[in-house]
Amino acid sequence: MSGSNKKILLEQVADYVKDGDRVWTGGWTVVRKPMAMVYEVIKKRKKNLHLVGNPGGPETDLLIGAGCVIKTETNYIGHEVFGHPYNFRRKMEDEKHQGELFHDDWTVATGALRIMAGAMNIPFIPTRSLKGSDIINPSLDGFQALRGSDDKVPKKKVVLMEDPFWEGDTVALIPALKPDVCLIHAQEAGDDGTVSITGGAFLDYYAAVASGITIVSAERIVPREALEQTAESNVIPGEVVNAVLEVPNGAHPTALHRFYDNDPWWFKEYLEASKDEQRMEEWLEKWVYSMDHFSDYLEKIGFKRLQKLRANPVYGYNPDIKRRLDKLGGVT
C-alpha cells in the first residue's frame, strides 16, 4: 500500500464500505468527524452497518436516523452540550423500533484499549476498569443475542481473570476492536496517504492501523514531500491508508482545529428535525439525498455561514462563535 497516488473522489468512498461492515468514524463526538464521507455513505443507502467509533457524535446519530445501522458498539452517542441523540434514543426507547438496533455499551478507557489491541493484532487486552459496573453485568449485554452467531461480534463481552503473572488482581479481559473500514477526516494528507492532524489525533492512529481499509479525507491533499516538513504532526503513516480525498469543509458541522468551529445553526436545525421521524426524513432529503455533490451542500450552507465558522489560526477555534442554541440568532 505504499504506492504514491492514492487519491479518490468522494463519490467513490461508498465503494469501500460494504453493507454489514464494522465502521470506525474518527474524531471525537462533535470534533473532526468525517461528515462528508458519512453523508456519501448515507446517500448510497448502505445497510446493516456496525458502528464501532469511540465515541460517536452526530455522524452516528445521523447514520442511525438514515436507517444505515443495525449495531453500535461504543461508549457514547451524542452531540455534547448541543442536545440529545434523538435518532439513537428513538431506536432504544420506542416499542415499534424494538430489535432494530443492537447497542453495546462501553467506556472511553476500554474503547481506547480495545482499538489499541486491534492495532497490535492481539485478540484481547486486560483492564482494571469496568469492575462493579453494569457495563459488564452478564444479564445486561446488548449484544447477547448476537454472540457466537455473528462473526463481527466478539463471542463474549468480557472475561474476568486473576492476573497470573504478578499480584493476582482480578482484571477484565476485553476483546480487540477490528473495524472493517475506518473513515477519518484530517487537516492535511499526502497523496501517498500520510496524515497530518493537529488539535488532537484522538484514537485515529490506532483505528487506522487496526482497520481492514482506511480512507482519509482532508482539507488539503498535498504532495508527500510537503508533509516531510511537518513530520511531528504526521500521526498516521501512508502505509496503513488505502485512499485519500480532498474535501474542504469535510468535517462540517463538527469542528476542525485551525480551520473551522462547530456550526451551531446546523445543530439547531438538526436537533429540531431529529426529534421526529417524519421531520428527520425531510431533513435527510433536504441536506443529503437531494445533493448531487458535497459542494452543493456547502453552497446550501452558504459562504457567509462558512465564513462565520472559520477558526482563528492562533487559537485554533473561533472565539466569536455563539454556542448557546436557545439564544442563537441568524447568520448575520
Binding site: V81, F202, L203, Y315, Y317
Partner: protein, 275 residues
C-alpha cells in the same frame, strides 16, 4: 481548601442574588485543591474546574480524557475534545494515554463528574432510566465516567437535587460508588471487595453538599444552602432515600469574586449556566 478554612471575604458578603445552580458550581469548585490532577468530565465540571483555576487552585492540573493534559482554556470548552481545551495546554495526549496510562496507573487525584441519577452509595447512572433493554429514557452513555469512578483516587459528583435523580438504587450502575455490582450481576458488594480503590468523596447538588459516612458509606448532608433558603426538610423531600441530616452545616455563600468570575470569565455566554 476546606470551606471552614476560607478567609472571610473582606469586601463583605455578597448581597446580590445568586442561584442554586451557581451555588452548586461554586461549592463543587471549592472542593478541588491546588496542585491536584483533576480529570474533568463534560458539562458542569468544566465550569467548576474553570472557576477553581481562577480562584484558589491556579496550579491545579486540569485533564480532559480526549485531548488535554494541564488545560488552561481562555474560553469555556463545550466538550472535552474542544480546541478551547487544546489551546495553552502543556500536552495533547489521546485517551489511550489519559485513560489507559494515567487513570489506570493511579495518577488521577480527582474525577469530577456529572450524572443523571445517583443513589445512596454514590453509584451514578448516565446510561438509561427503566429497563436496560427497553428504557423509558436512554442517555448518551458512560463516556469516560465509568472508568473515572472506578480508577480515580476520589470522585466529586455534581448534579441537580431532585427526587427522581437522588434514588435509593440507580436503574443502571454506569459508574461505581461505594457499594456496586457483583461480578455475577446479582447483588451489591463494597467496592474494595472487587479490588477497587477510590470512591465518591462528595455529591454537590443544587441544595447542598453530601458526603458518605465512614462506616455505612451511605450519603449524608454535610452542608446545605441555608443562605438561599434551602431547608433540611426540603433536602429530605427531594431525596428518594433516607438521608442523615444531623451533621448538616450551612454553606458559606459565594464571594463576590467567585460570582463575578463565574459570570464574566468562566461561562459568560451561559452555555452551562443558562443565564
Amino acid at each position: 481548601m476546606n470551606v471552614e478554612e476560607q478567609a472571610p471575604d473582606k469586601t463583605g458578603k455578597n448581597k446580590t442574588s445568586y442561584s442554586q445552580l451557581e451555588m452548586m458550581v461554586i461549592a463543587s469548585s471549592r472542593l478541588l485543591e491546588d496542585q491536584e490532577r483533576v480529570l474533568v468530565g463534560t458539562g458542569l465540571p468544566l465550569v467548576g474546574a474553570g472557576l477553581a483555576k481562577k480562584t484558589h487552585a491556579k496550579d491545579m492540573v486540569v485533564i480532559m480524557e480526549a485531548v488535554a493534559f494541564d488545560s488552561n482554556p481562555q474560553s469555556l470548552p463545550f466538550c472535552v475534545a474542544d480546541a478551547r481545551a487544546v489551546y495553552k495546554t502543556r500536552w495533547v495526549p489521546t485517551a489511550a494515554e489519559v485513560m489507559g496510562h494515567f487513570l489506570q496507573g493511579g495518577r488521577i487525584d480527582v474525577g469530577y463528574l456529572g450524572g443523571a441519577q445517583v443513589d445512596q452509595y454514590g453509584n451514578l447512572n448516565s446510561t438509561c432510566i427503566g429497563d436496560y433493554y427497553s428504557p423509558t429514557k436512554r442517555f448518551e452513555g458512560s463516556g469516560g465516567a465509568s472508568d473515572i469512578a472506578a480508577l480515580a483516587k476520589k470522585t466529586i459528583i455534581i448534579m441537580a437535587h431532585e427526587k427522581k435523580r437522588f434514588v435509593e438504587t440507580v436503574d443502571y450502575i454506569t459508574s461505581t460508588g461505594w457499594k456496586c455490582r457483583s461480578y455475577d450481576g446479582k447483588s451489591l458488594v463494597y467496592r474494595w471487595e472487587l479490588g477497587l480503590d477510590g470512591g465518591p468523596f462528595a455529591v454537590v447538588s443544587t441544595m447542598g453538599v453530601m458526603k458518605f459516612d465512614a462506616n455505612t458509606h451511605k450519603m449524608y448532608v454535610d452542608y446545605y444552602y441555608a443562605d438561599l433558603g434551602v431547608t433540611l426538610g426540603e433536602i429530605i423531600n427531594a431525596t428518594g432515600f433516607d438521608i442523615d441530616t444531623s451533621r448538616a452545616k450551612p454553606m458559606e455563600p459565594p464571594t463576590l469574586l467567585e460570582l463575578e468570575l463565574l459570570r464574566t470569565k468562566v461561562d459568560p455566554e451561559g452555555i452551562y449556566m443558562k443565564y
